[in-house]
Subunit: 93 residues, 2 copies
């Protein structure tokens, strides 16, 4: 299993648009075969920090995800709404 933590510092006036687009991305991603879980979280202390935490079966599932229409159309739009984006892929120890 691979966990992706994708942390976004969203521009102040773009939070609503980010959340709307993210909801579409969550919906599409959850339907994928290798997706174990996929959700968006808000930092309790800073509403500008919105982070996807995703569980995937394996790297192959992530490669397929990265090529889906929902990923390739929505992620570039999200990138335009953030000040900073940090993506880490993790394995359990």
């Amino acid at each position: 299993m691979i966990i992706i933590v994708a942390k976004n510092v969203v521009k102040k006036d773009s939070i609503d648009e980010f959340k709307k687009l993210a909801a579409e991305l969550v919906e599409g991603s959850r339907k994928e075969e290798g997706c174990i879980s996929y959700a968006l979280y808000e930092d309790i202390n800073n509403p500008n920090i919105l982070t996807f935490i995703e569980n995937w079966a394996d790297q192959k599932a992530i490669d397929i995800h990265n090529a889906t229409k929902h990923f390739t159309t929505i992620v570039p739009k999200l990138s335009g709404l953030v000040e900073e984006m940090q993506i880490n892929l993790y394995k359990a120890l």
Copy 2:
């Protein structure tokens, strides 16, 4: 439920010591009543990045956790082994 993502960039020569101390912290934390899950993850692309992902029942459980002996003795030691520590508390959207 509150998710904590505690991302650490560990000093190169301190990785083994960090992992050893982290294992004690994981063991103690998992025994706490409000702890739903608690684990350490390694970045697939950078072994210096070690991140705790923790699920807690509520803020009260986190407050109790922050006052436990395993937390107050181990976390300061971990802090001395890292170049950077980023802690975010999240709620689901």
